[in-house]
């Protein structure tokens, strides 16, 4: 039976975010497949770019938020920071998985192989693996899992800086950063930035939901402990 306490009901703002996410993602798909012109060299498969690039940027954003939550927890030891860090690491893994699936699909057509051990792709893989290790630690390390996972997340975010500058330092085969230099056709640029905005709204929606879930789990744990103290059998 759903609680009637006001703080338990889903906020109107979250419902609006859900609706906005669905709407913007729908429009983003339309723009990618119908509005943006087809790239003359790579053809239709180039359209993965409109989802691969925003997913990569959101992966880095989620990693940054995870680092903020982790640093906040390590300094203050307050659970609200740990909830933020835990939520962000899950979303970073989700968007990272999206990057690592769409990237090789694009690479198969562009470079003739699914995986060419390009340093940027490789470093993204390493980042995602580190974040997966954070989740494993949370599940299996026991009482000190929050601080271990937080510390590991800080290492992961420092690693992500190496990812961003890897193209310049290691001269990989990854496509050059044409987005930053503004070399895209206007309709392509418009589609890309709209997809980025859609992914940001999606990220905010998922973070908000996940943080609420984290708080509910914390409340449930407190109730279990309280019940155990009172001698109530679960």
């Amino acid at each position: 039976m759903q609680s009637t306490k006001p703080e338990s009901r889903t906020p109107i703002g979250l419902w609006l975010c859900v609706a906005l996410s669905i709407g913007m993602l729908g429009r983003g798909f339309w723009m990618a497949f119908y509005y943006a012109p087809t790239e003359k060299v790579m053809g239709f498969v180039q359209k993965i770019f409109y989802f691969h690039v925003p997913a990569a940027w959101i992966m880095f954003l989620a990693t940054f938020v995870c680092a903020v939550g982790s640093i906040g927890y390590l300094i203050t030891r307050k659970d609200k920071w740990d909830v933020i860090g835990d939520a962000a690491v899950e979303l970073a893994v989700l968007f990272g998985a999206m990057v690592l699936i769409t990237g090789p699909l694009w690479g198969r057509k562009a470079w003739g192989a699914y995986w060419v051990w390009d340093v940027r792709l490789t470093s993204s893989l390493v980042l995602v693996l580190t974040l997966v290790a954070c989740k494993i630690v949370r599940g299996y390390a026991g009482p000190s899992s929050k601080q271990i996972a937080s510390g590991l997340a800080v290492f992961a975010v420092v690693n992500s800086v190496f990812v961003y500058y890897s193209v310049d330092i290691w001269k990989g085969t990854h496509p050059p950063k044409i987005v930053a230099k503004g070399d895209l056709a206007p309709q392509m640029s418009e589609t890309l930035w709209f997809c980025v905005a859609a992914f940001i709204v999606l990220f905010v929606t998922l973070m908000w939901s996940r943080i609420r879930l984290g708080h509910r789990r914390g409340e449930l744990d407190s109730l279990y402990h309280h019940a155990a103290e009172l001698g109530v059998e679960s």
Binding site: V119, A133, I136, A141, Q147, I148, S150, L152, V154, F155
Partner: protein
Amino acid sequence: MNEVATILKGAFAIAQKDWQTEFRSKEILLTMGFFGLLIVLISAFAFYRGDLPAYALAAGSLWVAIAYSGTLGLGRAFEREREGDCIRALLLSPMPRQAIFLGKLLGIVSFMFVVELVVVPAVVIFFNQSLEFTQLWRLGVIMGLGTFGYGVVGTALAASLLRARTRDVLLAIVIYPVIVPVIMGGVKATTAILQPEMSVSDFELWARILFTFDVVFIVVSFWIFEPLLID
């Protein structure tokens, strides 16, 4: 300056404790060294063929052996602190936390250097390589930078897992993703050194990258060590 001297003095005292314990028991050195040798041997059986460029295999085998034997050593070095609750005694002492980190780092890095004195000749012999002086000192630089980077990350993470459940399994899971840049840089630089026409520019590039990694992660580890260790 006083604080730096205190940290260095404390670190040296902890490292000396580890060295003395190890000198008496030789437990970590023997197990790490023998394990590293076995990894090189298995790699030679698994990958070495007469028609393949052996220098690339040698470089990969060397760093795999260092990574695996290093994890073994890290786990054992910190298990010693757990036994008898020595870590609590260290934390209760007036010694700065950074001194504990630096002392354990010095200990583990020195053990790894000793093990590398066994593993490097094994790689050279089993993979039929020859090392001139110009290659040898460059290899020494890369081993130093790579081992130090590995030690920095490994010491911080192993310390954080002191009170964790399933710490033996978790140590490998948490260390390997973070030290992949060290392994990547180590293998690339070692390949550049061992190949028939040594590539000095590649060696210098990867040496700079490893140095940057070491500097960045020692700063991060210095800051993060105490929050990871204290409940």
